[in-house]
Each structure stands twice: as C-alpha cells, then as structure tokens.
Amino acid sequence: MSATYITSAEMLSPLGIGLDHNFQQIKAGVSGLKEQKSAAARTPIFCAAIAEEQVAEYDHLIQPTVPLTKLEKMVLVTAKRLLAQHNFDPRDPKNIFIFCTTKGNIDLLFESDTLIPKGRILFSDSAQVMARQLGFTNLPIVVSNACISGVEGILLGRQLIQAGLCQQAMVIAADLVTDFTISGFYSLKAYAKGLCRPFDKDRTGVNLGECCAGVILSGKPASSKDLKIIAGTSSNDANHMTAPSREARGLSQAIQHCLSQTEEDQLPDFISAHGTGTRYNDAMESLAFQQSGLGEIPFFSLKGIFGHTLGAAGLLETVVSAEALKQNTILPSIGFENAGEDVKYQPATQLVWSPMKSFLKTASGFGGGNACLMVEKSPS
C-alpha cells in the first residue's frame, strides 16, 4: 500500500487557536485543565473546556450564513485554517469531508431557547451544514466509534484515497465537555478525583476536555517536509463493553498488525499513547506495548494537558505528535510521577530532543475498539 501524506494540520484547544501556538504552550508546560463545577458531579471536577468568549471570536473568521453550534464553529474555524495553509478546493468532487465525533452537538438536548434546529443533533445533518458552509459538493461522512473515532477518521480517509474513491480528504474531529458526558464517566466511576494522572500509580480516572483538530490527507505530498501515514488498522477486544481486555488482546493485535505493514517491521521512535488515567486502560496499554516488543520505546499521554477529548482525542494527539516528530521532540507525560506495579514502564517525564523518523499513535475505547497508525517523515 502506498503512503498517504498529511499535507496540513491544525487545531484549537483551551490553550488557544493554531497548532504552532498550541505546541509552544505545550513546550512551556501549560495545561488546559481547570477546576470547575458541573451539574452532573457532586464535587468540583477538572475539565479542559473552551470558553464561550473564545468561540464567539470565531464568527468573524467563519462568517457563517446560518446559525451554528459551538461545536460547528470550532470545526469551521479549524477548517478555515487548514484551507489557508494548503491548496485544497472543497468544491472539487474528488475531495471529501470526514468528521469524527463521539457525541457531536449533544449540548442541543439541553437547549430550549436556540435558533438551531433540533435536527442538528443528528451527526449527519450537522456535518452536512458544515460541509455546505465550507463549499463541499460531496456528502460528508461522520465516524463515531467512541474514543477511537479520530484515529479511525484518518484511517478511513487514507483507505478511500488508496482505493481511488477520492483524491484528498479533510478529516476534522471535535467533541465538547457537557454534563451529559460528565454524568456518564461519573456513573462509571471513571472520573478522576483531582487532576488526571495517566500511567501514575495513584491515577483515579479521566478529566474530560474539548478541542478540535484536523488534517488534510492526500495521495501526493504538497511539500518535501510532509509527513506520511505508512500503516494503520483497527481491532476489537470482543470482550466487554466498557472495560478493556485484561490481556490487552485487541490493542496488541492492532499494534502488531500495524507494525507488520511497515517495511522490515520498523519500530517507532516514540508512542503517542491513549493514556486516559483510568486504572484499567493504562495498565492494559503498557501490557500491549510490552507484548508488541515496544517495551523500550518512549511513550507519553497528552491527556494531562488537554483532558480526554473523546472522539477528538486520537486526531488531536496525532496532530500534536506529528509536530513533535517534525521538531524531533519527545513530549513529557504530564501528571505522571510514580510508576506502580500494574504499569510496567515509565512514560517520558521530560522534553527530549533527538533525531527521529517515526511515531505510533494508539487509541482504545468503549465498545472494545482499538486503533493505531504509524506516521513517518519523508526521506530528506
């Protein structure tokens, strides 16, 4: 299978707008997690939420012709930045729009006084409005597979390009922090007491976050510096609806399958892990890395900065990790202090510069899904 290139990448988060800006903030050690109250939690909790005022500023950048939700504004402003970087014509019938989300405009359920038609709670209707605003002529596709949606959106785009069904794909992922999702993680006893601490021995669960991240994928590079996706696959534990496989079966299978697609079973220089901060996820992941012969490879979770952004997480973390690869940087896993017995390896704790070639991105989610992809520099 030939390579698919990431010809542009963008994001917005509580740290601000733009990949460059976000990456500087990450290097400076800034976190988007703040303590706040939620009607769905009995005590204050930590979330990484994007302020309403920040989103309101986007209107003049987007210039929408119809009323838009917060999520849709986040997506459109990210899309506008992607389009500004790169010669991509949404009106070209060979180009498609893929949107990845776990819960989309779920906040509309709570709104009684809004100009937005209730139908936009349907992901396909919302995606269609966004696609029209951007000028796409093709009907958009939404990927919603819980916490692996973002990685799967990239894999879907890659396969559709490889199959010749499209030439380029704009893939954007976004999710919100809402009382709806907080209530779910709370009821599953999976919400962290305090800040989340991925891979730490004292981790107690997740902090939720909201963000939007996007890429443009193409069968041809736009510049010699473009990174390429060289492998990727998804799998299912076929084991339990909410708990990951104790034997890490599904993730190990996905990683091994992914590595086997590379030339000479190439090993990545670092792993951008899922690392949610729940007991079972993080233990399962470290076991999967060990079983796949990646025990010595540095890894980190970005959840200590952005929280768990659900369906957006995989794409957000791919975009940030791609920038890290370009800058030959391994990022520290914020929130980690001490290794416990159930997590075999220590994640990266400091910013490290070293010449690198590739990284592996992994994700696992409710419903037993796992997905991973491998990103590599083009030979210079």
């Binding site: 009821s187 006893k189 339990h240 909410t242």
Partner: protein
C-alpha cells in the same frame, strides 16, 4: 428488617434495575455467585448495583475496589447493606 426479607428486596431491585427479563427470582438463591456463573452479571452490572446502594439505601461509595468481598452473593450484599444502614442510623 429480617435478613431474608432484605435479600429478597435487593434481589428484586437488581432484577428490575438490570432488566433480567428471563431470570425467575425464585431460581436465584442467596448464596449463588452474583458475577460470572450464577446470576451472570458483569462489571457494568456491578456499577448498576452501586446505583441501587447509593439511591435506595443512601450508602456513599467512594472506593469501588473495596466492594469486591461484599459483591460475592446476595447474602454478602445484604450483610453489607445492613451494616452500612445500621451505621447511618
């Protein structure tokens, strides 16, 4: 409340909360394992039982792991509820 009465009460609440349509309450004994074999529950069902404990018996659960020994059977669960509600009273 008599222990047998509490066992039956909890049993009926579990059957209702978990929508165990094909389970005949009379066929479940107080000593049957709740998880795996027996009533055949899994960990998400365990969390639904936590909802029953918190909502109907006003027991606050902070550490899920500490519940494991009490979740063996209806008997152990009833003993836990009896002990917790006695403390609260």
């Amino acid at each position: 409340m008599e222990k047998q009465q509490l066992v039956n009460e909890i049993k009926n609440k579990i059957i209702e909360q978990l929508n165990l349509v094909d389970v005949d309450p009379a066929s479940v004994s107080a000593t049957d394992p709740l998880f795996g074999e027996g009533m055949g529950l899994d960990s998400i069902d365990g969390l639904e039982i936590v909802v029953i404990l918190e909502r109907d018996y006003n027991i606050t659960i902070t550490e899920i792991e500490s519940l494991t020994p009490h979740f063996e059977s209806l008997n152990t669960l009833a003993e836990f509820v009896a002990a917790q509600t006695a403390v609260a009273a």
